[in-house]
Amino acid sequence: MSQMTYLEAGRIALEEEMRHDAMVWAVGQDLGRGGAFGQYRGLVEVFGSDRICDAPISEAAILGGSVGAAMMGTRPIADMRMSDFVLCAMDELVNQAAKARFKSGGQARVPLVVRAPIGIHWSSAAQHSQSLEAWYAHVPGLVVVCPAIPADNKGLLKSAIRCDDPVVFMEHKALLCSEGEVPDDVDYTVPLGQASKVCEGKDLTIVSWSNQVHLATKAAQMLAEEGVSVDLIDLRTLWPWDKTMVFESVERTKRLIVAHEAVAVGGFGGEIVATVAEKFGGAIAVRRLGAPRAPVGYAPPIEDAVRVTEEAIAAAVREMVVCKSGGAPRGA
């Protein structure tokens, strides 16, 4: 184990995979100088500019070109700088990468990683702060990953690179400098589709991912002092998501909150809540916590107004556990 940042864990994952497989390469703007956030620092010196490949500001070509190169058996990491710029290559992602295998009757494979950091960070305002992971979870053909801690950033990026499906890999910008213990083993991977249990509890289940997991953890700590015990699940992969772990948990706690930074309306929380409601009927009380349906603004009070805070999570938990304890779950 080594202590390192989330950013460094991702950098090491890529370096290890590039050593392990000569077909792995990365392409994107400014990669030769370390990339927009330094996730590629030092790699061009090791692997050269063919494999750590600079790109013009040509998002359609970065992503679309990666689709073509992936079909040819290479394993590109298309660095989109921020998830907001994936929107400049939506045809390439949704119509091309996600459909190529199916529409060719299985002839094509697109082993592509679309690396696209998400989230509210540093007052970056409406066009540089979005969390659109639910869009990609909606698209058949794509795998969707949102790591929350350094060890998962390493293990999941390695799995994403080894995966033969196109993976939309969304780091959170606010987590890049966060630190944690990371296994040194080059064979360490985290399987796609497997959630992790952040803390065990019996009163209520919180499902979350990405930076929101850390806010949910703080809420769980606050609640523990009040005698409320939360079962907190970091989903890690949104598609496919770990129904087994979520079902096991809600069967015990009978209460579920899904909390995410993304807008609540149409967010992936709705999918999880609906799946649980369909499986368990009214036996489980459910609630989604997400942002208001407003863009992210620049001024701190305006930016903060759309955050799902730890206080908001704790308040929702109290409402479901304390106020309604013993009573029938809402909706029943």
Binding site: R33, P56, D84, R293, Y298, A299
Partner: protein, 333 residues
């Protein structure tokens, strides 16, 4: 076009340019100080060294004409008539900000002075500018559109689509390519094929002209001719200007990837210093020029002070101006 070697200069006009160029630089420098004071929340994209191209083109526009600026567009905003005070309030995210504190550094807009705004997505304004010009034509209005973008923006699809569109519909539009040689840390030349921007534009049916973007006299003369033609219905046209970004890409980028000496060499062509020399040669007293400079810094210091003293906008403003139909707030059941 006028023979540039003659350099028939209008001193009064050039003094106005001198003042405006200093106001732009002062705005950027004082904003950089505000960033160091940790009062700017996002990143700044400074335009220091690129003032002449802004001033020399926008000098020909009326208030009714429209400008689309770049993410590095504080100068373009100021030149179009935006208030420095409202801009500082925006940069600090305070009440009275030009976009209510919602936009921040790369999103300055002021429709009241014909500034349709800068954009955080590279190249997006090229097609939006074409659309604005399309509407001007549709409404038979007597005004034109100037659309600024960087060298890096020419490698995205909207460059091709926007220029072609403007040419097909013969729109009253001047494209201005602000070529500072870099797109973030990347030397644009290394990632751009073909003979250059002029050929790209002309291949798309948009006649293109080149000018030294750090020579405000040349920019003004060249832009005069292009804008006269655009007003006469001979648009769209394209102005390509070489300039230099003296700072890093953003306020948190030291620009260490640039070859040694490059910045120093470029400073020798500083547009403000060149204009100052010209004005001194034309008999303008040094004190007069220094007084212009001092007034620019005094204005921006005052604007910064005003912003610092202003309140932050109320949190509820986060839910204003989202859209007309439907509440942005999550219902609490």
């Amino acid at each position: 076009m006028k023979n540039r070697s003659q350099r028939i200069i209008n001193v009064a006009r050039l003094r106005a340019h001198y003042l405006l160029m200093h106001r732009i630089r002062a705005l950027e420098e004082v904003a950089a100080r505000a960033f160091e004071d940790k009062l700017v929340h996002g990143f700044l994209y400074p335009s220091i060294g690129q003032e002449a191209l802004t001033v020399g083109v926008i000098a020909h526009l009326t208030k009714r004409d429209l400008v689309l600026s770049t993410h590095r567009g504080h100068g373009q905003a100021l030149a179009k008539g935006a208030s420095s005070t409202a801009m500082f309030h925006e940069l600090l995210g305070r009440e009275g900000g030009i976009c209510g504190g919602k936009g921040g550094p790369p999103h300055i807009a002021d429709f009241g002075v014909g500034l349709l705004g800068s954009n955080g997505v590279i190249s997006a304004n090229i097609v939006i500018g074409a659309g604005a010009a399309h509407a001007v034509k549709l409404k038979k209005e007597d005004r034109i559109v100037v659309c600024y973008f960087g060298d890096g923006a020419t490698n995205r699809g909207p460059f091709l689509e926007g220029l072609n569109w403007a040419a097909v519909f013969k729109l009253p539009l001047l494209f201005v390519c602000e070529d500072n040689g870099y797109a973030a840390t990347t030397k644009t030349r290394t990632m751009t094929a073909g003979p250059g921007f002029l050929d790209r534009a002309s291949a798309l049916g948009v006649p293109a002209v080149e000018v030294d973007g750090n020579d405000v006299v040349a920019v003004e003369a060249t832009a005069a001719e292009l804008i006269r033609k655009v007003r006469a219905g001979e648009g769209p046209l394209f102005l390509h200007a070489k300039t230099f970004r003296v700072t890093g890409h953003t306020s948190s980028d030291p620009g260490a990837y640039r070859p040694k000496g490059e910045v120093e060499a470029a400073k020798a062509h500083d547009p403000i210093a060149r204009l100052r020399e010209l004005l001194i040669g034309a008999g303008v007293a040094v004190d007069v020029l220094d007084a212009d400079k001092a007034s620019a810094y005094a204005e921006m210091d005052a604007a910064y002070r005003s912003a610092r003293e202003a309140a932050f906008p109320a949190a509820r403003m986060a839910f204003v101006d989202v859209q007309d139909v439907g509440s942005p707030l999550v219902e609490a059941f």
